[in-house]
């Protein structure tokens, strides 16, 4: 970890510290609306990091991360509403549930050599039939949804993951920062190198003694676990869950936008992507509300257009380009 810090050029260190200070101080000046946008920024940065581990580093395309998000959200929320088990304990049950799902998807795919686009289809399929399953699961409210009450005793306390926007803001910030540090550390770890090798050339990776199945499974394990934590946050922030929303493929696409725009396989890409994309998306929603336009799917079109522009102008994402402009791409040796 210290090693990573030392590798950053001086300008990079200053920028990191300044950004972190600004993020910590933001609630002093931000109003409630701006704060809600910033919560989403860090939430998507966090989920982007989780997905980027699997796609950007290990090279495995998942278009079904809504599965782990939804399982995390439903597990923790159901534990609380049904058994009164709080989210801080619930998260440790949500993680293995989502991780197990990830292991099943990974095992089925990679054991039987389902690669690339076909693997992506498999991930979509799993998210879809889990959605259908939850649509009929009476105990969690089926398609009518699962709700967290806002006025039962203790529901507004931080230990039950309830309260005002400040709580969610700092929680999302901590998640995003912690995920970025974790990814930065993993990138420079033996495991990170193995992932890159698997991504770049599986056959050559094998020749370097790498068990590529194992490497991919570990990537999936970490990615699904992290996404489940994001799901717990989602459940207790929105306080209502519908299978048709949380397991939706649109949810999966939302997760992957920030890292693609920001830069696949980079440590700061998901962060930069979320900072750029989320406020733009939210402004669009606000503008449309202001002018009384109600076009469903406008946000998807906007995401699609943004993606096309970025892929055309900067195929490797905004961050690699930005890092060059800021002179941050040369690590000190």
């Amino acid at each position: 970890m210290i090693d990573i810090w030392h590798r950053l050029p001086m300008r990079g260190k200053m920028l990191c510290l300044a950004a972190l200070a600004a993020a910590i101080a933001a609630p002093l000046v931000a109003d409630r609306y701006l704060l809600s946008v910033l919560i989403l920024v860090f939430y998507f940065a966090y989920l982007g990091q989780a997905w980027n581990l699997l796609m950007g580093f290990a090279g495995q395309l998942s278009l079904g991360h809504a599965l782990y998000l939804g399982l995390g959200a439903y597990t923790a929320t159901a534990l609380w509403t049904l058994f009164g088990i709080g989210p801080w304990i619930g998260v440790f049950i949500a993680i293995p549930v989502a991780a197990a799902a990830g292991m099943i998807v990974g095992w089925l795919g990679w054991r039987f050599a389902i690669e690339g686009v076909y693997f992506a289809l498999l991930t979509i399929a799993f998210a879809e039939f889990t959605r259908i399953g939850f649509d009929h699961l009476q105990i969690t409210g089926a398609s009518a949804g699962l709700f967290l009450s806002v006025n039962s005793p203790g529901s507004d306390k931080w230990w039950n993951l309830g309260g005002g926007p400040l709580l969610y803001y700092y929680l999302a910030l901590i998640l995003a920062v912690a995920a970025t540090l974790l990814v930065a550390w993993l990138r420079r770890s033996p495991l990170g190198y193995r992932w890159l090798a698997v991504r770049e050339d599986p056959e050559a990776a094998r020749a370097a003694g790498i068990d590529i199945f194992r490497a991919k499974m570990i990537a999936m394990l970490i990615s699904a676990s992290m996404t489940a934590v994001g799901g717990v946050f989602y459940g207790f922030y929105y306080r209502n869950l519908f299978p048709s929303q949380v397991f939706d493929i649109g949810r999966s696409i939302e997760i992957i936008m920030a890292p693609i725009i920001g830069g696949l396989g980079t440590v700061f890409g998901p962060l930069v992507g979320a900072i750029l994309l989320t406020p733009l998306g939210e402004s669009l929603t606000a503008l449309m509300q202001h002018f009384g336009v109600n076009t469903p799917g406008a946000k998807s079109i906007f995401y699609g257009l943004t993606l096309m522009v970025i892929i055309t102008l900067q195929p490797s994402g905004v961050w690699p380009w930005l890092a060059r402009k800021l002179g941050l791409d040369r690590p000190r040796t």
Binding site: Y193, D201, A208
Partner: protein
């Protein structure tokens, strides 16, 4: 001398075509063993079976006392068999140094140690000054050297080289030959598949000649290269 690698009657058929049929030979500890033969003779198939990329249909392969036929290529690599690919396969988007670090991580658990090994290996193969370059930006000779460096960084007991000299200029060939000879002097056993006879004669202590998947001659270079069957099938009469 003890056999480090023992090949016993291995065969491989592709849809009825016998790519390799009942080939047997031993590679001794510390020697440089060359496999030559015309295109399509089954050299690369043989090589891929030793490296574990494809399983043999029959026969056994024993490396350092362990049966390796049927093992995965990564398991064989971890036993101490390093390999290069005929069509070079560096990790394209990574730096030269990161490529070799990945190899070195097979013999050490920390990235710091792997970096040290990688830098030593790169220095040995004249790539140290290019270590921060992206692998895909290298010239073909450099990429070939990078392949050797990555395989070498895994700390192999046996190095399998699949036509590393092909496409190189004579001066570049001589440089790699000198490097390989140095490595061999330090105790590395090398099995090479090669078309460039200049390199084979300079390096090999023994040669096996494959033709239509079968071994037609084996022995020291002087014997083998004068063998009439070898001359006819591969070298051509004019080479005499």
């Amino acid at each position: 001398m003890t056999a480090l690698l023992s090949i016993n009657g291995i065969s491989k058929r592709f849809r009825g075509l016998a790519a390799v049929s009942r080939v047997s030979f031993d590679v001794s500890q510390g020697e440089i063993f060359a496999v030559i033969g015309p295109n399509g003779a089954g050299k690369t198939t043989l090589f891929n079976m030793i490296a574990g990329a494809i399983p043999p249909d029959e026969g056994t392969i024993t490396f350092a006392g362990t049966r390796t036929d049927g093992l995965r290529s990564d398991q064989i690599a971890r036993l101490g068999v390093g390999r290069t690919f005929q069509l070079v396969r560096p990790f394209p988007a990574l730096t030269v140094e990161d490529n070799v670090i990945i190899g070195a991580l097979m013999q050490t658990k920390t990235v710091r140690d792997a970096e040290t090994i990688a830098r030593d290996t790169l220095a040995r193969l004249d790539l140290f000054d290019k270590r921060t370059q992206i692998a895909s930006s290298l010239t073909l000779p450099d990429r070939k050297r990078l392949e050797v460096a990555r395989a070498l960084a895994t700390g192999p007991k046996l190095l399998l080289l699949d036509e590393v000299m092909a496409g190189l200029r004579p001066t570049e060939t001589d440089r790699i030959v000198a490097t390989l000879r140095d490595l061999n002097r330090d105790g590395l056993t090398i099995l090479l598949i090669e078309h460039v006879m200049r390199a084979v004669t300079a390096l090999a202590s023994r040669i096996l000649v494959l033709h239509h998947g079968a071994a037609i001659a084996e022995g020291n270079p002087e014997q083998v290269l004068r063998d009439p069957a070898v001359v006819e099938s591969y070298l051509g009469a004019e080479s005499l």
